[in-house]
């Protein structure tokens, strides 16, 4: 009881605790703002990569467009022949008088962008159908599914 009732040094303890609180709080604020900054940087690099890939897709579109405009015979089969010569990695689907040209662009971080172009017979230009990012495929690791017994009355 003698030590508990002794009020000597209580103000120093109060000051130490206040400063401890301030130090902890400032470190937490710092950590939170740094994690926000890292997230913003990730978002910035994500958009940068997206527009780089989109630039490549636009370049491809312009190249195919100029190829088609230089071909004198505008029927679908001759265009198909020229396109296959131009790029072997392109996927081309034929629907009656229409060609759908699709190509995916990949960067070193395995981000993929798909472009789909449409060619209508006897036209001079390509139409842009799709320009979108391909979602990444992933699998969950170590997921154990339990057998659930169902009782039917």
């Amino acid at each position: 009881m003698k030590y508990i009732n002794n009020k000597k040094g209580s103000s120093s303890i109060l000051v130490i605790l206040t400063f401890m609180m301030l130090v902890i709080f400032s470190i937490l604020v710092m950590m939170s703002s740094y994690s926000d900054y890292k997230l913003a940087q990730k978002n910035a690099s994500y958009t940068k990569e997206y527009y780089e890939l989109s630039g490549e897709a636009n370049k491809y579109w312009s190249e195919v467009d100029s190829l088609i405009s230089n071909i004198s015979n505008n029927n679908v089969n001759s265009i198909l022949e020229e396109l296959e010569k131009f790029d072997t990695n392109t996927n081309i689907d034929i629907y009656e008088n229409t060609l759908i040209i699709s190509k995916t662009f990949k960067n070193n971080k395995s981000k993929e962008l798909l472009i789909k172009l449409e060619y209508l017979e006897n036209s001079q230009f390509l139409n842009l159908l799709t320009l979108k990012e391909v979602p990444k495929e992933f699998e969950y690791e170590n997921v154990d599914f339990e057998d659930v017994e169902v009782y039917i009355e």
Binding site: V23, S26, I27, S33, L39, N43, A44, E52, G55, K59
Partner: protein
């Protein structure tokens, strides 16, 4: 002066801290204070950088998407002034204040956005342009070393309708 006996005894008490003790305790407390202040100020600086980076990413995306849809007469593309204009290369620039409102005077501005457009190839109706958009801060950050730090930049190519002088007026 009338004082209760209890206070009188307390005033006559000569126990206290020595000068050395006081100097040491004040020194420790001020050191801790400086440390705390530094932590708070740098976290405020990082917070400001985060906010400005997010805003400039949104701003550059907005510019590129407007160029894709060829909205030259609408915001944000109508804010830009033409710096250089030739057949092959166009440079545009615009100033913004801290709330991202377009301003004319450099004194009031905090950000400068520069768009560089290079024509790569030309077809009859459309052309392929190499686009570069940069957002530069005109004042340095509190804990920054560079005078005019580059906040964000994007390089891409766009296959869009031919850009004429009329578009940029």
């Amino acid at each position: 002066m009338y004082l209760p006996i209890n206070y009188k005894t307390k005033l006559q008490n000569k126990k206290g801290f020595t000068l050395v003790e006081l100097i040491i305790s004040v020194g420790i407390l001020s050191l801790l204070g400086v440390l705390i202040l530094l932590f708070f100020m740098s976290s405020k600086d990082v917070g400001l950088r985060t906010k400005e980076l997010d805003q400039s990413v949104y701003h550059t995306n907005n510019i590129i998407e407007s160029m894709k849809s060829e909205d030259w007469e609408k915001e944000p593309l109508n804010d830009f002034n033409v710096l250089t204009l030739s057949n092959k290369k166009i440079t545009l620039s615009s100033l913004y204040d801290d709330h991202w409102n377009s301003v004319n005077q450099e004194k009031k501005a905090l950000f400068r956005t520069i768009i560089t457009i290079d024509k790569s190839s030309e077809n009859s109706e459309r052309s392929l342009y190499q686009i570069s958009v940069k957002v530069i801060r005109l004042k340095s950050y509190f804990r920054g070393k560079k005078d005019n730090p580059l906040i964000h930049s994007i390089q891409t190519s766009l296959y869009i309708g031919n850009i004429s002088e009329e578009n940029l007026k």
